[in-house]
Assembly symmetry: C2
């Protein structure tokens, strides 16, 4: 049978690197993506391709209408902030924060993990680049893990101990990319931009593009992204 992991996959650098680490650690992989009304549907195409390249056991896409909940630039009618030539310096929680998003994603991952018999859930959060997101911090992850083991039949019956795995949590984007290069990830498969154009090309100016570009620079790796 072998050990199984559910990996949250957004089609971006972080979740793809987390997936490569799960594979390296010997897990067979159940990748989970969401269509949640985000502007950048192109990320789902990336996630699907990545699942295929990684040869996952199963790739599941769940629809969640977070758009109805609102409250974020990623799902609502709020402009995605652009940083033309400036550094991204805000220490505030950005408007691209989606209320309770990681909690909702991890909860769905937990349900699926219980069904397929996966003890481990990988999520590619990191605190350095995204210090503004409360649901990327280790204390949050620990609290979720504790709750997860009280929430589930498998956890309560002692059949399974769920673990929320965050292998990237202390890494910079450059370190993540370096790790991914070691694991021979083809980053041309990945998509990061919050606000791609109609052809799926990256804007180069949103938070996510800036972090990605900076990551490749600092890692000394040529940026494979196609910018608009």
């Amino acid at each position: 049978m072998g050990k199984k992991a559910v990996v949250l996959s957004s089609g971006g650098i972080d979740s793809t690197t987390a997936m490569a680490i799960a594979r390296q650690e010997g897990y067979s992989i159940y990748s989970l993506s969401f269509f949640y009304g985000q502007r950048h549907r192109v990320e789902l195409a990336a996630a699907k391709k990545i699942a295929s390249v990684f040869g996952v056991q199963k790739h599941l896409v769940l629809n969640l209408d977070l758009k109805k909940i609102g409250g974020s630039a990623l799902t609502a009618e709020i402009d995605v902030p652009k940083f033309r030539g400036q550094d991204r310096i805000s220490k505030e929680i950005p408007v691209t924060y989606v209320p309770a998003r990681n909690t909702i994603f991890l909860s769905c991952a937990l349900g699926w993990a219980e069904v397929v018999g996966a003890s481990d859930i990988y999520i590619g959060v990191n605190i350095l680049d995204y210090s503004g997101y409360p649901d990327c911090r280790p204390e949050y992850i620990a609290a979720f893990e504790r709750m997860a083991n009280l929430a589930t039949k498998a956890g309560v019956e002692g059949k399974m101990k769920f673990r929320i795995r965050t292998p990237l949590i202390g890494m910079t984007k450059a370190q993540i990319i370096q790790k991914g290069m070691e694991l021979q990830i083809d980053y041309t498969l990945t998509h990061s931009c919050y606000d791609p154009d109609a052809e799926g090309l990256a804007c180069g100016q949103c938070d996510s593009c800036i972090l990605r570009r900076k990551g490749f620079e600092e890692a000394g790796v040529q940026d494979p992204t196609r910018y608009a």
Copy 2:
């Protein structure tokens, strides 16, 4: 402005009574229901009607395809167990358990609560009638609440302290119905059956019907349910 609460509403006795308690406690109500591939879509019609009768601020229905996750008689192709004339005596977690369901529901409620500025989330769980469901127990609820305050921008910034309210947690179905009668709930609005017929009439034989019928009997209240 007044204080606000998100109330998880399934259209059944428990969530409707929880809603009446929230109203009595002075909250303006944001009711939240889910279409999650359950067999009994008639419960959504009940939840909508209840929202209207209660005059809630807003009633939101989210689509969640838990059916894709599977693992439950309520969403998958497993027969809902019937107890013809027998007592429901199992102490095991029933096949109608939906993996991580309350966790997923509460997570979505948390996201919406953050957006609308509601500090309180009401959920009509109780441990007596549903001792088999791990995600109805007080230790689970406490762990969720703790996690919720670490997960959210509003929680972390100290703008809001989220509370998960479970006013029915220690009550029997009969006590819940008595409480509801005090609060003048019209229980003909509610729906409980896991496996209603095409016209929405209750089967009278599933777990949920048996608990409901027994509750009315023990409360000394005439059962208003229309059985098939």
